[in-house]
């Protein structure tokens, strides 16, 4: 009898390059890039910056702003995910959830109150929850509800709008209903694992393999693994968001924003493009508050935290493209229906 368990196949299938050596190469490349940028900044004449067109400068500014805004929440989400996967006792979360499916999803949609991270931080956390035994549908419910149903988002929305036009209530109820609707739909999926990317399916398959290492070591490894999965997606998503913002005229969106129907879709498009975190999006849109109709603001505040360019890029690390298209269609339609209802009734 061996004293140690055999190393899982996927851990061994790296050929001659170990994760440590890959990490060292990555770190070296990163340091080299930073040094290169510092050297360019110090040695290049200032006029070089002026050679960039306004559009290019805007692209970098907008993309970097999304990264800067999201990065702390991604890191926080990864840390919480590690906490759930490594530090919470096995089965702790599942034991404390109701057995009834509807009640279970309702409780899961409220987990954001305990884990208040922005939507980008929820992706690694949702991945951790799946690895800890949550179903795919339930993890979607958490993923979509938590950015809205958390105290930071609720407080900032209240600070921005108070009780005006039912914006706060519509946001909370809309987020709750849509997240539970998604969970209800996907609870009927015959093969939930097929909703996940093959790479993440592999991670799930080995989630319960016990690695002979301390919790701290496992946490560090997991941090490395999650950041290497999340950060490229964040950078790509932010770059796309920046690119679209440069390409799409905001003036056009603002013009459309005063039409009771088109305003809803205009602000959903704006939310999709700007990819702003749910914790601060209320203050962002408050600046447009006098221009846009309340239903459009509600659609912005509900759709944005669930689906945007950056989130799709991050969620693509976990879900298949087909699944994300379905999610986007349902969330988009539900947000539009909510926004149009507010415009028609409020």
């Amino acid at each position: 009898m061996s004293l140690t368990k055999p190393v899982p196949p996927h851990h061994a299938a790296h050929g001659s390059r170990t994760p440590r050596s890959r990490g060292a190469v990555g770190l070296g490349l990163g340091v080299a890039l930073v040094l290169l940028f510092v050297a360019i900044r110090l040695l290049a004449p200032e006029e070089v910056g002026n050679l960039l067109s306004n559009s290019v400068q805007d692209f970098f500014t907008l993309s970097i702003s999304v990264v800067i805004e999201s990065l702390p929440f991604v890191i926080l989400g990864i840390l919480l995910s590690i906490g759930v996967q490594v530090w919470l006792p096995e089965g702790f979360l599942l034991r404390h959830l109701p057995r009834n499916a509807v009640a279970r999803r309702i409780v899961i949609s409220m987990l954001g109150v305990l884990l208040p991270v922005c939507e980008c931080g929820n992706v690694p956390l949702a991945r951790g929850l799946i690895l800890r035994g949550l179903s795919v549908g339930e993890s979607m419910t958490f993923l979509l509800a938590a950015p809205i149903l958390n105290p930071v988002t609720i407080i900032t929305t209240y600070q921005a709008f108070g009780w005006d036009d039912g914006i706060l209530v519509s946001r909370i109820l809309g987020g709750f209903v849509i997240a539970n609707l998604i969970g209800w739909i996907y609870s009927r999926h015959s093969s939930p694992m097929s909703l996940l990317t093959p790479k993440f399916q592999a991670s799930c398959a080995h989630a319960h393999d016990e690695v002979p290492a301390t919790r701290t070591r496992r946490s560090v490894d997991m941090f490395t693994k999650e950041t290497s999965a999340m950060l490229p997606a964040l950078f790509v998503g932010s770059a796309i968001a920046g690119l679209i913002q440069v390409g799409v005229s905001r003036d056009l969106l603002v013009t459309l924003g005063q039409n009771p129907v088109l305003s809803v879709f205009a602000l959903m498009a704006l939310a999709f493009v700007v990819s702003i975190c749910s914790n601060v999006d209320a203050f962002f849109i408050l600046a447009f508050g006098s221009t846009f109709m309340p239903g459009a603001i509600v659609a912005f505040l509900v759709f944005g935290p669930m689906i945007d360019v950056k989130m799709l890029a991050l969620m693509r690390t976990t879900f298949t493209a087909r699944t994300l298209v379905q999610l986007t269609v349902i969330v988009g339609l539900a947000s539009a229906a909510l926004g149009l209802a507010v415009n028609a009734l409020a």
Binding site: Y186, R188, S190, P260, V261, L262, I330, A336, L340
Partner: protein, 480 residues
């Protein structure tokens, strides 16, 4: 694995396929339902007209100043609306303009107290919806407390200041002192000039709800007169004169303005004229809605002065008499031997006032008049009444005169009562009329003497109805 196996994914009977079908049905069904709901609400949004999103008005100021605005926010830009068809209940004259999503309704005159106003703006067409809609907004104006001074020192009791409002007929006593010369109030802060045992003036300020009044320091043996309060700002003003020493006075009718909030910092300072020296003020008044005052010196020169020196002193010419402002406006009425004029302090224009001639009887004698609008005024009338035995007596009444008619609005209820004084409310809609009956006699106060047995009645100038009465006189409307 056999194709007929019940577990085969290809079998239409397999549980997995059924579940997959259930998922597909749920997914597609949800999409269809959501699309229908969204389409329904989109259609409803398009076919309904624009709606009122919010509305805002400073109701407190609307009863004190003309030109107050109700700003109606519409849920989309306004393409057009029927500005001429706007209706207001109770009736009020308005004008309106639209700018983007805002319709601004301006009230030409101050509004009534304790009233519920409903404004309807018809024919509002949005930029994106062709269906016209009528926007309606209702708001309430605040109640008005009317104060009066009851002098009882001749009967051995302390004088008191009491107040009563349009909706609270009970009334309450808000200040007492052995002898009170005059008072004014700015909001719920009361200022009172009292007379001590030695005959010297003291000036107190007290919150109506507070017990302990605060004394404002005055120069030794100073005489205070013409205490007034702003109707819109927490400001009071008063004239201070000190006794002559070697033929010269340290303070000679100097106007002090006190900020009751304490925001101005430091003790009140006298208002200075063009030369930077304190003006010797013969008469003065707050400009409604501002921190400015209009003062007239003893050479009859009139100046516009900011109480806190934030604007340069502006000369307004030399006039025989300053008759105050048209209620709620910045239009100052001045009188000269050859004509009366109205100076609009907002733009400096002066117009000659052509007063409508009152329709009076042969034995009627016009008394003091007070403008309540650009072309109407309230006039006190003294009448000589010939009794059946051939003797004569004096009676009085209050009339409102406009371009078309002279209407009696108040006549003392009891024979022998005489109108001693009247003052117009800040909104120009009411008069506080002080009468004293046949037994009334001068109260002997050195400053601002009055009559005993006085009663103050608040009269609606539009109907002549007496809203309420209370004992005393010297309404606070006379000191604002």
């Amino acid at each position: 694995m056999s194709s007929e196996s019940p577990q085969s994914p290809r079998s239409p009977q397999s549980p997995r396929v059924r579940v997959r079908d259930a998922f597909a049905r749920r997914l597609l069904g949800t999409i269809v339902v959501l699309a229908v709901i969204a389409g329904g609400f989109a259609f409803a949004s398009v076919v309904q007209g624009p709606r009122l999103s919010a509305a805002k008005i400073d109701a407190q100021r609307s009863t004190r100043l003309a030109g107050q605005q109700l700003v109606i926010e519409v849920n989309q830009p306004v393409a057009s609306f029927d500005a001429d068809e706007i209706s207001v209940e109770p009736e009020a004259s308005v004008s309106a303009v639209a700018d983007d999503r805002l319709i601004t309704v301006t009230f030409d005159e101050p509004l009534d107290y304790a009233s519920e106003y409903t404004v309807r703006v018809p024919g509002v067409v949005g930029a994106f919806q062709g269906v016209p809609a009528t926007l309606e907004y209702t708001f309430e104006t605040p109640d008005e407390q009317v104060y009066s001074l009851v002098r009882r020192s001749l009967d051995g009791e302390p004088d008191l200041i009491q107040r009563k409002s349009f909706t609270e007929p009970g009334g309450e006593i808000v200040f007492t002192a052995p002898r009170i010369q005059e008072f004014a109030h700015a909001g719920d802060v009361l200022a009172a000039v009292t007379i001590d045992d030695a005959g010297a003036n003291e000036l107190f300020v007290a919150g109506v709800e507070q017990d302990e009044p605060q004394e404002i320091a005055l120069p030794m043996d100073a005489v205070v007169r013409d205490l007034e309060a702003s109707t819109t700002n927490p400001l009071i003003g008063y004239l201070v004169s000190t006794p002559p020493v070697d033929g010269a006075r340290a303070q000679d009718s100097a106007l002090y303005i006190a900020d009751l909030t304490g925001a101005a910092g430091g003790p009140p300072k006298p208002v200075a004229g063009l030369d930077g020296e304190p003006i010797k003020v013969a008469s003065w008044s707050f400009v409604p809605g501002t921190t400015a005052v209009v003062v007239q010196d003893f050479e009859q020169s009139v100046f516009l002065v900011d109480a806190f020196g934030s604007a340069p002193v502006t000369p307004l010419g030399v006039h025989s008499e300053v008759r105050g402002f048209v209620p709620g406006t910045s239009r100052l009425v001045v009188a000269d031997p050859d004509r009366g004029s109205m100076i609009d302090l907002t733009d400096g224009t002066t117009t000659t006032v052509d007063l409508p001639v009152p329709s009076l009887g042969d034995s009627d004698y016009p008394g003091r008049l007070t403008m309540t609008g650009d072309d109407r005024y309230v006039l006190s009338v003294v009448m000589v009444v010939v009794q059946p035995d051939g003797s004569t007596s004096i009676a009085s009444r209050l009339a409102q005169v406009d371009a078309t008619s002279t209407t009696d609005v108040f006549t003392p209820a009891s024979e022998g009562s005489i109108i001693r004084e009247y003052c117009i409310s800040p909104n120009g809609r009411y008069a506080a009329v002080t009468t004293s009956d046949a037994q009334g006699r001068p109260d002997g106060y050195p400053g601002l003497p009055g009559y005993t047995e006085s009663t103050m009645s608040v009269v609606d100038l539009s109907s002549g109805a007496v809203e309420f009465s209370q004992s005393g006189g010297f309404s606070d409307w006379c000191s604002s």
